[in-house]
């Protein structure tokens, strides 16, 4: 064990240590910097997110992991002062290229948020909203089918099939979050971004979501930001450790939690700061 008494003594590496790149990348991030006005939130991050992998992003509060996640489907566009440089390649195209349209991008790279945020509509309408929005399905029978398969995939169908037309906001927190996941997969995205999806949930609901993530990973690429190292260890294939806006280390999850390459990562996972 390498002992770390003062983390500031350990310099942030110039390049990410470990294995940030992948041969089978769904999204390739290259030299991305993110600024909020004058303040730089992300420093020169390069990372591949592999097809059908679950990549967890961990790090102390304010390290930029959520910002990084939101950059991946340009959710940061809604913040006026946010500026992104570098390249993020998805399906051969730079999503920050001037000609890229965010609407189809967000249909292909979906997002689940920290707090369950169902629309104040019925369960059915929550799930059917995305497909209707993009004109994927307009016939009632098609919509019915999408709603059923999405809710089934999200593990919610059996619990709500008798009350599809009751408000989505009337469900419990964990059910609401699974409804949000169903809503996201209803538009059949390639990537699902999850921003601390379990931080507002109790342990049982958390366990269900984690189970769901494992199931979904067979069909979708999932990037998950989490505060819980146990959760990262349970659900992810690879783990990326962020520190003060820098991507310090990316390695297979098992390695990160047993034998990290960088002293900062070790200091974090052993709980010396956080």
């Amino acid at each position: 064990m390498k002992l770390v008494d003062n983390v500031t003594e350990h310099t942030i590496p110039k390049d990410t240590v470990g294995t940030p790149f992948s041969d089978n990348a769904e999204i390739s991030v290259r030299n991305v910097d993110v600024f909020y006005g004058e303040k730089q939130a992300i420093h020169n991050v390069s990372l591949d997110i592999g097809k059908n992998e679950v990549i967890a992003m961990i790090g102390p509060s304010g390290c930029g992991k959520s910002t990084f996640l939101r950059v991946l489907n340009r959710m940061n566009d809604t913040i006026d002062i946010c500026r992104v440089t570098g390249e993020i390649i998805h399906d051969g195209e730079n999503i920050y290229a001037p000609k890229t349209d965010v609407v189809p991008l967000r249909a292909r790279v979906g997002m689940v948020f920290q707090k369950p945020n169902p629309f104040p509509k019925s369960i059915y309408d929550n799930v059917a909203y995305g497909p209707k929005l993009h004109g994927i399905a307009s016939r009632r029978t098609d919509l019915d089918e999408i709603v059923e398969t999405s809710l089934t995939k999200a593990g919610l169908w059996n619990e709500v099939k008798d009350r599809l037309h009751t408000p989505g906001t009337g469900l419990s927190g964990g059910q609401q979050q699974r409804l949000c996941i169903a809503r996201t997969i209803a538009v059949n995205p390639e990537v699902i971004l999850m921003d601390e999806p379990c931080s507002a949930l109790d342990p049982i609901a958390t366990a269900k979501i984690e189970e769901l993530i494992a199931e979904l990973s067979t069909n979708y690429t999932i990037a998950i930001v989490t505060h819980s190292m146990q959760q990262a260890a349970r659900v992810s294939n690879r783990t990326a450790y962020f520190h003060l806006g820098h991507l310090v280390e990316v390695n297979p999850t098992e390695q990160v939690f047993t034998n990290p390459d960088h002293a900062l990562t070790e200091a974090y996972i052993t709980g010396r700061f956080g």
Partner: protein, 426 residues
């Protein structure tokens, strides 16, 4: 520890009494404020209702009128001649026949004045409805003059001075009362007729309809414009110096004295565009200018209150900006927007000053049929009546205030109900 003799617990307990006393005083101050406000409200309402209630009933005198077609000067077969008939003479004859002993010219004229000068019109309307009455001796109830009305309502019993009947009129009226020929009836005319020189015949129908028409114009113009402006400013406009200036100016506009808007209407709508004077269309446009900032401000607040999580959810699914606004922001902000609109409209309903500038203060006897007909509105009617010298208008003024308050309460109540219905939880 500052005091070694006392434990911390004793120090806390020692201070408790003072703390609770302060708390009680604080609560009492609030209760006193509310009682103070409420007592003024009760006083105001009590005064208005007390003064206004008599206007809802009118004093009627029973006369036996001889509806001879020749006397009336009408052709019973031809309804078009009914308008030209001399109904006043028939009524005059009827009242004279009640008091056959009155002979002198002056006394007979004075006797005729105990019946409303508009009684002839009421009789005409009665004949139009029931032409079979022609050439019969009919017993009809006609409106008493406002002086008699005032006497019967306020001074007949208990006997006290203050009425302005002449001594002879007093004897005749008391005689009629003794013969049970004087009674109260519900003053339907107050709600069906428009302004009149005579308090007993004046009604709020014209002003009420004028108000409704002006408010419809105001709402139709102001609501969509205000919502569009609010949505643009909140959702689309870049945050820069220009939008800051716009924001400050909208807030300023809300505080501009309403008479300025009246002057603007006079200068632009009347003089430049040559729009019809005194019309609800014009009034509604001026009121819309005035209400616009109020609705914009409340609509912006309502849009701001839509939780960002809902927007994020929609954006995250790939909704475009317009779809986010149309599908989520506006529906969720609608209760707040409607409340703002109704508050703005309620404010417009009570507005007098700008309408004075555009001629809605005229004496208008006809009920407006459309938005381009000359009209007046309720608050202006109240202002006009409160300025009239006849005693009967005191009651009319208060009664019109009651109607105005009734409309206001209905509007505010509907705002609350609408809000409850539309409100969704998230």
């Amino acid at each position: 520890m500052t005091n070694t003799n006392l434990t911390q617990r004793q120090i806390i307990e020692a201070g408790l009494k003072k703390r609770y006393r302060k708390e009680r005083a604080f609560k009492a101050a609030g209760v006193i404020s509310i009682i103070f406000g409420l007592s003024w409200l009760v006083l105001l309402f009590g005064d208005i209702i007390g003064k206004g209630m008599p206007a809802f009933k009118s004093t009627m005198i029973q006369l036996s009128v001889n509806l001879d077609a020749d006397d009336l000067g009408i052709d019973p077969e031809d309804a078009t001649t009914f308008n030209k008939g001399n109904y006043d003479r028939v009524i005059r004859n009827a009242i004279r026949s009640e008091f056959a002993e009155v002979k002198s010219r002056g006394d007979r004229r004075s006797l005729g004045r105990i019946v409303s000068s508009n009684a002839g019109y009421d009789l005409r309307d009665l004949i139009k409805e029931n032409p079979t009455l022609i050439n019969t001796q009919a017993s009809v109830w006609v409106k008493a003059d406002s002086v008699v009305d005032d006497y019967f309502k306020n001074y007949y019993s208990p006997q006290k001075p203050g009425h302005i009947l002449t001594d002879k009129q007093l004897i005749w009226v008391n005689d009629l009362i003794d013969r049970d020929k004087v009674t109260f009836q519900f003053n339907k005319g107050f709600f069906t007729s428009s302004d009149s020189r005579d308090p007993e015949s004046a009604g709020v129908a014209g002003a009420l309809k004028g108000s409704v028409l002006a408010l419809i114009v105001c709402l139709v113009l102001a609501f969509p414009i205000a919502i569009a402006a609010a949505v643009y400013l909140e959702e689309f406009a870049p945050k820069n110096r220009l939008t800051d200036i716009i924001e400050v100016n909208i807030n300023n506009l809300a505080a501009v004295p309403s008479i300025i808007f009246g002057l603007l209407g006079l200068a632009i709508f009347l003089n430049l565009f040559g729009m019809p004077r005194s019309a609800p269309l014009l009034g509604g446009m001026v009121l819309a200018l005035m209400t616009l900032p109020t609705i914009i401000i409340s609509a912006r607040a309502a849009i701001k209150a839509v939780p960002p999580s809902i927007r994020e959810a929609a954006y995250g699914l790939g909704a475009s900006k317009m779809q986010v606004v149309l599908h989520h922001v506006i529906p969720l902000a609608m209760p707040g927007m409607l409340t703002g609109a109704i508050i703005g409209i309620a404010q417009a309903l009570g507005e007098t000053a700008p309408l004075l500038m555009i001629g809605m203060v005229a004496f208008i006897v006809d009920i407006p049929q459309g938005i381009t007909d000359p009209a007046t509105v309720l608050p202006v009617q109240i202002y006009l009546w409160s300025d009239s010298p006849e005693r009967g208008f005191v009651a009319n003024t208060s009664a019109a205030i009651m109607v105005l308050l009734g409309v206001l309460i209905t509007m505010n109540l509907s705002a609350v109900l609408l809000r409850k219905r539309l409100e969704k939880r998230w």
